[in-house]
């Protein structure tokens, strides 16, 4: 029986070198050579500064921007690092709310979101993704319905015609892969950058 000890030890060392060092390091080398942008997190630079990643959502609160979905991520409390406080779109601590469907806290939170959104645009029904937190807390997308819902506010704040903003949303709407796989989405960060790039009226 103890004869099997040597292969157990040696195999562990060999497989660690192969799958734990050679494999990930070689993959890093190849990835950096052929897909450098994606391998480094699809970062977006503007005026020489990194403004974020194409794939990671940001916490938009200003009325002139399209807002992403609510985010349940948290971060350490600046006054007491042992505690954690709400920190939406914390890309160093991803996660969801884990609120169950019958949780009072969930329904109260959704109701508050709902109220604020109704005041902003009383004419349209509130799309469900705009009042629910995403799984990662970093969802870069909203549904086209959620983008269209925000068009009147953004247009008003920016003094743009609604039709112009709606056109921009359509341009930034991505359909399903091959028309089949996934769901239609709107990338919030890219849409907002496009808004900023519009010539002032």
């Amino acid at each position: 029986m103890l004869r099997e000890f040597r292969p157990a030890l040696v195999m562990m060392v060999l497989l660690t070198v192969l799958t734990g060092l050679a494999y990930p390091l070689a993959m890093t080398g190849i990835a950096q050579a052929i897909f450098p942008r994606q391998a480094n997190g699809s970062l977006i630079e503007k005026d020489g500064r990194i403004v974020g990643s194409e794939l990671i959502g940001q916490d938009f609160t200003k009325p002139g921007y399209f807002h992403g979905r609510p985010s349940a991520t948290s971060g350490p409390d600046p006054t007491d690092p042992a505690k954690s406080v709400a920190a939406p779109y914390n890309a160093a601590n991803s996660g969801g709310s884990n609120a169950g469907p019958t949780a009072k806290s969930l329904i109260e939170r959704v109701e508050a979101e709902m109220k604020a959104l109704k005041e902003e645009n009383p004419n349209a029904p509130v799309p469900v993704d705009l009042v629910t937190t995403s799984a990662s807390g970093l969802d870069p997308d909203i549904s086209p319905a959620a983008a269209m819902f925000q068009v009147p506010r953004v247009a008003r704040e920016r003094g743009l015609p609604e039709a112009r903003v709606r056109e921009l949303v359509s341009q930034h709407t991505h359909g399903r892969y091959l028309g089949v796989i996934g769901e239609p989405t709107v990338r919030v960060l890219q849409l907002n950058m496009a808004l900023d790039a519009l010539p002032k009226q």
């Binding site: 040597r6 494999y23 994606q38 794939l55 940001q58 884990n98 469907p101 949780a103 796989i181 996934g182």
Partner: protein
């Protein structure tokens, strides 16, 4: 539910089924030691492995030696992973400056990854260094998966061989599985993931200044290389806390589709390996049919429940109807790019297999939507199942099914020409009963102790579901969670650690005993009295046995959790 949603589910099933034969054929050749197109490159590496570790590749092991090899290898795995986590602060590849992992967490995580569970009591991006992620966790992603696969192959050899003493050589099977199957697929699909946006770097976390001027720290790392084996080996441990819902792990619907196919590919192909090795591929298809039947039932319930959404939202007047502008349904804890169909499908796939990766938060599912993952694991994850574990779990049920059939007609049961006798049935029942013992036992314990009751984040029946899910997931070696549970405590880390250990090894040892006992038997020639095990009658019988065993055992616990919550939700009760 929408047509396009069902169409995507059908497309997924079709791709998995198409892959069964080619992958099954390739894997059969690998485990038979035949030449494959990769042999010119890999044979020298393989030989080197055997020479350095002192393994004679022509030696066959009996079931006890095979089991001891596997256990020793798991012990070495556990020890090295534990040490790596405890010493990560002073080791290289640690740009985020992570400190040593605390003892009970390191114990829990080391058990978790060596048992192919990948339960995570920690937040990876704030806990683990890149070195631990690569040389610790990624390694276990490979070898714990390979261990599962070779155990299934060993059991199949038990059926296929006649009057034989051995069931293969663990070291040879382990090496071949890693070199010829897991590594090549990981390299190719891993690079596809990078192309689609999954990061692969060793840099420090990125500091960005957002459009509104706030500071955003973006976690980075060698994600793609771990992501692919996490799915292929049905491991499921996320590089990030949000797992496959994190846009860096799973950037778009296409990577999501590929991830789901990866979870099922090896498990489904193993049914074909089984068929080929016992000399009748129909036997494999029959097993796959049982799996497919149970799978589609689960998907239908989960998709329906999640698409129907939360009635409390409807009362607030929220628009959750599916349209061409939104997915609708219960979007709490789900990502926009996956919507309802691909989230419900992923949840069913990941728990049918023992993967445990998630692209949506199961804790926020509707009660019946969350019941499906829970029930899938409680059935023993035999619906395709964990790589290897699914097949051997299913074959244990098949043994019980032929035994039941034998009782009905008063004839000694046979399966694939082997007489199923008292020893095999006892061992099969032992392995099957381990599951409820650990799941229900630990859940009962946690619900009466203060340290256990401190865990759930949700009140009412959902809190109970969180505890039940944790021990179900641990014992089933799944690793997904109703993640509201605060599991990073001494009590949960320890009990969940033991549940994972029990669920893996106390099932494997009886299973290998069956393999050894079967291999030694002669083949009984089929006669008019032989019960055919490739037809619809057998498929129906196995499905029945699985549902009755699973249903009867777990129904009371499920009634206290998801079922009562379902009725409470519809009655408008909140907790």
């Amino acid at each position: 539910m929408t047509f396009i949603g069902w169409f995507q589910i059908a497309l997924f099933c079709a791709v998995v089924v198409v892959l069964v034969k080619p992958l099954g054929g390739y894997m059969t050749r690998v485990f038979a030691g035949e030449r494959t197109f990769l042999s010119p490159v890999l044979v020298p590496v393989e030989r080197g492995f055997y020479r350095l570790s002192g393994v004679d590749e022509r030696t066959d092991q009996n079931w006890v030696t095979y089991a001891v090899s596997m256990l020793l290898f798991s012990l070495v795995s556990f020890t090295s992973l534990y040490a790596l986590m405890r010493f990560q602060a002073v080791l290289p590849f640690n740009p985020a400056g992570q400190s040593a992992v605390e003892e009970s967490l390191a114990f829990n995580t080391a058990v978790s990854f060596t048992t192919n569970t990948n339960w995570q009591s920690y937040v990876p991006e704030t806990t683990m260094s890149y070195l631990v992620q690569m040389a610790g966790l990624t390694v276990q992603n490979f070898v714990s998966a390979a261990t599962g696969i070779v155990l299934a192959v060993a059991l199949v050899r038990g059926f296929a061989r006649r009057s034989a003493a051995g069931i293969g050589n663990f070291w040879v099977d382990l090496t071949r599985c890693t070199l010829y199957i897991l590594l090549p697929i990981s390299i190719v699909v891993g690079l596809f993931f990078v192309w689609q946006g999954v990061p692969q770097n060793l840099g420090a976390y990125t500091e960005a200044t957002t459009l509104e001027g706030a500071r955003q720290v973006i976690a980075q790392g060698p994600v793609a290389s771990q992501e692919v084996i996490k799915m292929l080996g049905t491991n499921g441990g996320g590089f990030f806390n949000a797992n496959s819902s994190h846009p860096f792990e799973n950037p778009n619907a296409l990577t999501n589709f590929v991830q789901m196919v990866l979870i099922f590919s090896i498990g489904a192909a193993l049914t074909n390996v089984f068929g080929r090795m016992v000399g009748d591929q129909r036997q494999g298809w029959a097993v796959l049919a049982v799996m497919g039947f149970l799978f589609l039932g689960g998907v239908a319930v989960a998709y329906w429940a999640e698409a129907a959404g939360n009635p409390a939202f409807a009362r607030l007047g929220i628009d959750a109807a599916p349209s061409s502008f939104q997915a609708g349904g219960n979007m709490e804890g789900k990502e926009t790019r996956f919507g309802i169909a691909n989230s419900a499908l992923f949840a069913t796939v990941t728990t049918a297999a023992s993967c445990g990766a998630v692209n949506s938060m199961h804790d926020s599912y509707t009660p019946l939507g969350g019941l499906v993952p829970l029930f899938n694991i409680q059935l023993g994850e035999i619906i395709v199942g964990g790589v290897g574990a699914g097949l051997y779990g299913m074959l244990l049920f098949a043994i019980v099914a032929v035994f039941v059939a034998g009782l009905m007609v008063g004839r000694t049961p046979e399966y694939l020409g082997k007489k199923i006798e008292a020893k095999e049935v006892k061992m099969a029942m032992l392995a099957i009963l381990i599951l409820p013992l650990s799941i229900l036992g630990f859940t009962a314990l946690a619900t009466v102790l203060d340290v256990g009751l401190a865990g759930p984040a949700n009140q009412g029946p959902h809190g109970f579901s969180e505890i039940l899910y944790a021990y179900t997931s641990a014992t089933g070696n799944n690793g997904s969670a109703f993640a509201g549970l605060s599991a990073n405590t001494l009590f949960y880390n320890t009990t969940i650690g033991f549940a994972m250990f029990i669920g893996r090894f106390l099932m494997i040892v009886p299973m290998l005993a069956i393999a050894g006992s079967l291999a030694a038997k002669k083949i009984v020639p089929a006669s008019a009295g032989t019960f055919p095990t490739h037809g619809p009658l057998f498929v129906g019988l196995v499905v029945g046995v699985i549902l009755i065993v699973g249903g009867l055992t777990f129904f009371p616990a499920l009634a206290l959790g998801p079922l009562v919550e379902h009725f409470a939700m519809n009655a408008g009760n909140l907790f």
